[in-house]
């Protein structure tokens, strides 16, 4: 028989804690983020924009491509990048790429991410594209979006060509070495292949609303 390696009290703690929760510590969103090459999910789902109109991703899609930005009001990382993603998005619109910013956070968890404050945020960002409330978090769930800010760029054929961060330096715009999203938008606008398709950066975890039976 193997020797016991933990005190009885700890062993009991194992049982108690295991019983207290269905444990799958390796848990991540089971389907993960949208894979490169995927079509736009839930393109026809209507979401309320800060101007009061219902907007879908499909309704803003551009001839050259579509950029979906998952952002929110409260996140400090969004604040660090806001000038950059606003400028990139506004430039993309001018170049024939449809842009939409989506807030999938549950305001019950993050009160600052309620619809009301979104209006002021959109104004302060100076965005020329809609900022919408994903009111059941279905769109965020369908994209596998996990944090803000997180960008998904689709090409003219509606297939995902870039997923990831704005750039490699949230802290200092002047120290950016890799302007990933800017480069990807420029490539799509020029009808070229994006130089880097998938990138990562830290951000605020998105708290999706609980999945409902009528949701996706």
């Amino acid at each position: 028989m193997k020797a016991l390696h933990v005190p009885v009290a700890l062993a009991l703690g194992v049982l108690a804690s295991a019983a207290a929760a269905q444990v799958n510590p390796q848990t991540l969103p089971s389907e993960g983020p949208l894979a490169i090459g995927s079509p736009i999910p839930l393109a026809d789902t209507h979401m309320k924009s800060v101007d009061g109109h219902d907007v879908s991703i499909g309704s803003v899609a551009g001839k050259k491509g579509t950029l979906v930005l998952f952002v929110c009001n409260h996140c400090p990382w969004v604040r660090m990048w806001q000038d950059r993603f606003a400028r990139i998005g506004n430039d993309a619109v001018k170049r024939g790429i449809g842009v939409i910013a989506v807030n999938s956070n549950d305001p019950e968890v993050f009160p600052g991410d309620a619809y009301g404050p979104m209006k002021g945020k959109a104004k302060s960002w100076g965005v020329k594209f809609p900022y919408v409330m994903d009111e059941r978090s279905d769109v965020g769930r369908a994209f596998g979006a996990t944090h803000t800010p997180e960008a998904f760029l689709f090409g003219a054929d509606g297939k995902l060509v870039y997923h990831g961060a704005v750039d490699d330096n949230a802290h200092d715009a002047n120290a950016v070495e890799h302007a990933w999203l800017r480069d990807a938008v420029d490539a799509v606008a020029d009808g070229k292949a994006v130089p880097v398709a998938e990138t990562k950066a830290m951000g605020c975890g998105i708290k999706l609303r609980a999945k409902t039976s009528s949701g996706t």
């Binding site: 207290a20 830290m202 605020c204 975890g205």
Partner: protein, 181 residues
């Protein structure tokens, strides 16, 4: 029954955590007593996890401006504190920017964390992918290593205290033969 690591050795290795948040110290002397934060990259974290002297290393990447991180912190510390004598090494890695480092130290002190803590000093993408390619970058992120420094569990986002405890306990309940086959 036998204990694998003497508690006295563990006490020196494990970051200590107090019972409850308390007011952050404000005097010069008190500020000097704030926890040290030492720069670290992903390889440094993995080297710490593989260092002898602990049977499990619990790594939590957090930030003072991350609301979910702050919510998770007390439960995480309770799990660590309850198991420090059983071989748990706690490695808290702040991803705050330099201007937030004083706030990070005050936050740690307010939660009773003393001794050395760490702060990320590497670009996000190599840091994230080196620790686990499944990590999307969302905070908080937690990693559980066994005594040999092998990653046993990883998750991103907040977990309940019981879930963290179960993940740690599943490693602590392993025999050394399982960790060093």
């Amino acid at each position: 029954m036998r204990f694998i690591v003497p508690a006295v050795l563990l006490a020196a290795l494990v970051t200590s955590a107090g019972a409850a948040p308390r007011a952050a110290p404000r005097s010069r002397a008190a500020r000097a007593a704030l926890p040290r934060i030492v720069p670290i990259d992903a390889r440094g974290i993995q080297a710490l996890a593989a260092r002898p002297g602990a049977r499990v290393t619990l790594v939590n990447v957090w930030a003072t401006w991350c609301i979910p991180c702050r919510r998770e912190f007390p439960g995480l510390l309770r799990v660590a504190r309850a198991r420090s004598a059983h071989g748990l090494r706690l490695v808290l890695v702040s991803s705050d920017f330099p201007e937030q480092w004083p706030a990070a130290r005050r936050f740690l002190a307010a939660h009773g964390v003393s001794g050395t803590s760490w702060v990320k000093n590497e670009s996000d993408m190599p840091f994230i992918d080196a620790l686990d390619r499944r990590w999307t970058g969302a905070l908080p992120a937690t990693f559980v290593y066994d005594g040999a420094g092998h990653l046993a569990a990883f998750w991103e986002g907040v977990r309940e205290e019981a879930v963290i405890a179960a993940a740690v306990d599943s490693v602590l309940s392993r025999s050394p033969e399982e960790e060093h086959p």
